[in-house]
């Protein structure tokens, strides 16, 4: 234990700090009752645009966590995103030569079912996903 003699007699600055906080509103947000703002450029769930995809497979090759599987859709190889494996580094978006993969600020991905976390490349659904 430390030396008792070192201590000067003075009221701790923390007491004033704590007392002033009694009269201001809480710092914490009441999530999920209020929506949380995330900044522009946040790396959330991917948006895949199948019309721009040229089936090159670069996204799948560069993915550090093997979260992108190339699957056959209407005779062409398209990326299928396993969001449960995804580490949201967005290397796929960077590697894509046609900007077919874009970021979104959607982050509420928690689910009880892994199937919800598969982002299928579907022609009629530009945002993909099962939801």
């Amino acid at each position: 234990m430390g030396d008792v003699k070192l201590v000067k007699k003075r009221i701790s600055p923390m007491i004033k700090e704590v007392l002033t906080r009694f009269f201001s509103k809480p710092v914490t947000e009441k999530y999920p009752f209020v929506t949380t703002e995330v900044p522009e450029g946040f790396r959330g769930k991917q948006l895949f645009n199948i019309d721009l995809c040229i089936s090159c497979g670069l996204c799948s090759r560069d993915c550090p966590s093997n979260a992108i599987e190339m699957v056959e859709v209407d005779g062409k190889r398209r990326p299928l995103f396993h969001l449960d494996l995804c580490i949201f580094c967005y290397q796929c978006a960077e590697s894509c030569p046609r900007n077919a993969i874009k970021s979104s600020v959607f982050f509420e991905l928690a689910s009880n079912d892994k199937k919800d976390l598969i982002l299928k490349p579907e022609a009629n659904n530009k945002t993909g996903g099962s939801d």
């Binding site: 201590v7 003075r10 600055p13 710092v27 900044p39 790396r43 580094c89 290397q91």
Partner: protein, 526 residues
């Protein structure tokens, strides 16, 4: 510390033609010697200059033999001593009795490469699990890791820390499920009443084999892998790795890229130090401090999120620069938050200097003398609090640190309080660095295109992570995959300090003692 030319002269004098010297290779110079003379060489160097430190021991599989690289820390940079031992009979003299800080490094090499360090005081398992097969050394290239589960019978499981019948000491085991640190590690303490007499640390409970995994991924994928070694200092790991690759490639990162990297790295440091100071509050029973410091950490997290797209894992650095630019609209926000943070830091400095409860728990607790700090080769704030002025940002400037003025914070007391205060004062320096970098942000590109295949070469690179010197050794063989990635994290070097400082202190001071080292076992068990 000894100058490099003197080191080289000394070795030449001792060994004559038996030592080959390559200048400006693996740090400032590499000395290739015979394995038999390692002890003589190190003893000679330490005799000449007692402040010489060991940064790391890297093992590397060289097909027929196993290479051992001793990275020594000098004032001018890293000097590497390179030697080889045969695979069939990998025996080399231990240097632990000359440099006590080599203890953990040798035990790790023994675990991962099967090297036998003769005369090592305690060559027990350190990073691998107790039930790991006896003759399987995972970082050797010929290690067959697929049938580990089958060879589980071939292990020597022994319960550690069995109580000796003779003495009256009581064993207290802290961990692996640690009540406060949230990361698994074990400290077996022997106490006599309230006084700690002996401590035996054991790490490796979350060893993930990142070094091995990195050999199986491309350089680009490895950037994201090494970043995930540690959440808190993620950008530091990425920085150390991408710089190593850039050094082999000979890439010059654009100035703007370097400045943006510096901002991200300093945000990392602010995050880490604020987190630790808050955590220290929690450990010493001052939860108010913890809550308020973590509240004031939020602006740092928000800035990281704004600049990189994620609160914690920045994924901002890449080979050849950074992935995102700092936009004009970001600058006023960063400046505003820095003003707020500086104001808050002035408050906390006043608090740490005048609050009785902080001083009572940390002052004169866990004193590490300057001599011990040098001998145990500790790094970062732990070394600086004991009066050892080492900081990679000053000693071996990287990114934009060579151009940015900042003060090296040191203290001389070496107690837990000094270690916390060094970090608190470094926060001011970090804020100044970010301010300077934002004001002097160069124009131009922030990244350049680099080839995917890296030419053959090897390099040692270090950065100053929030917890101290972080060392990377990278060897490439000309393919798209690295041959060897060695990561020596700061906490790995700092744990031996705990073994020293806790002896003779109260059991109740253990938490304050551990937390003042800022241990990160996620880093250590990479």
């Amino acid at each position: 510390m000894l100058a490099i030319n003197e080191i080289l002269f000394n070795i030449q004098e001792l060994l004559g033609d038996n030592a080959q010297i390559k200048k400006f290779f693996l740090g400032k110079a590499t000395i290739v010697i015979n394995a038999k003379s390692i002890k003589d060489v190190v003893a000679r160097l330490v005799k000449n200059d007692s402040t010489l430190g060991l940064s790391a021991i890297t093992g590397i599989d060289l097909d027929k033999t196993i290479g051992l690289l001793y990275h020594l820390r000098t004032s001018e940079g890293i000097v590497t001593i390179k030697t080889e031992v045969s695979k069939g009979k990998p025996i080399i003299s231990s240097i632990t009795n000359i440099i006590p800080g080599a203890n953990f490094h040798e035990r790790e090499a023994a675990d991962l490469f099967g090297i036998i360090f003769k005369d090592h005081p305690n060559l027990k398992r350190l990073v691998l699990p107790d039930n790991w097969p006896n003759d399987l050394y995972p970082l050797r290239k010929d290690a067959n890791l697929e049938d580990i589960s089958k060879s589980r019978d071939n292990f020597s499981y022994k319960i550690d820390g069995s109580q000796s019948q003779e003495d009256s000491l009581v064993n207290i085991i802290v961990g692996p499920q640690h009540p406060a640190l949230l990361e698994p590690e074990k400290f077996s303490l022997k106490v006599d009443g309230e006084i700690v007499k002996y401590v035996e640390p054991r790490i490796g409970y979350v060893h993930r084999g990142v070094e091995k995994a990195a050999e199986k991924k491309t350089y680009l994928q490895d950037v994201y892998l090494v970043e995930r070694i540690c959440g808190i200092c993620n950008a530091c790991h990425a920085s150390a790795f991408v710089e190593s690759v850039e050094k082999i490639l000979g890439t010059q990162v654009p100035d703007r890229g370097k400045y943006i990297r510096t901002v991200i790295l300093e945000l990392n440091r602010l995050h880490s130090h604020l987190l630790l100071l808050g955590h220290a509050g929690l450990e010493i029973g001052y939860e108010t401090l913890f809550q308020y410091l973590w509240r004031d950490r939020e602006p740092v997290m928000d800035l990281t999120e704004m600049l990189t797209g994620n609160r914690v894992i920045a994924s901002s650095l890449t080979i050849g620069g950074v992935r995102r630019d700092i936009k004009e609209t970001h600058i006023p926000i960063i400046k505003k938050q820095m003003i707020y943070l500086r104001e808050r830091m002035i408050f906390y400095k006043d608090l740490f200097e005048n609050e009785p409860s902080i001083k009572l728990r940390t002052k004169n607790v866990g004193v590490l003398s300057t001599q011990d700090a040098i001998k145990l080769c500790v790094v970062g704030p732990v070394a600086r609090a004991s009066g050892v002025p080492i900081d990679v940002r000053k000693d071996d400037p990287y990114e934009a640190y060579g151009e940015i003025p900042f003060k090296l914070v040191t203290r001389n007391d070496g107690d837990a309080y000094s270690r916390l205060m060094v970090r608190l004062e470094e926060l001011f320096e970090s804020i100044n660095i970010i301010d300077y970098a934002i004001d002097n942000l160069p124009k131009g590109p922030y990244r350049i295109k680099v080839p995917r295949v890296v030419s053959a070469g090897e390099v040692v690179n270090r950065v100053e992570a929030p917890r101290g010197e972080l060392l990377y050794y990278l060897k490439s063989n000309g393919s798209a995959y690295p041959e060897r990635v060695k990561v020596r994290t700061p906490t790995f070097s700092n744990i031996p300090a705990f073994q020293k400082t806790i002896i003779g202190e109260n059991m109740a001071d253990v938490p304050a003692n551990i937390v003042s080292l800022d241990p990160c076992f996620s880093c250590t068990d990479r």
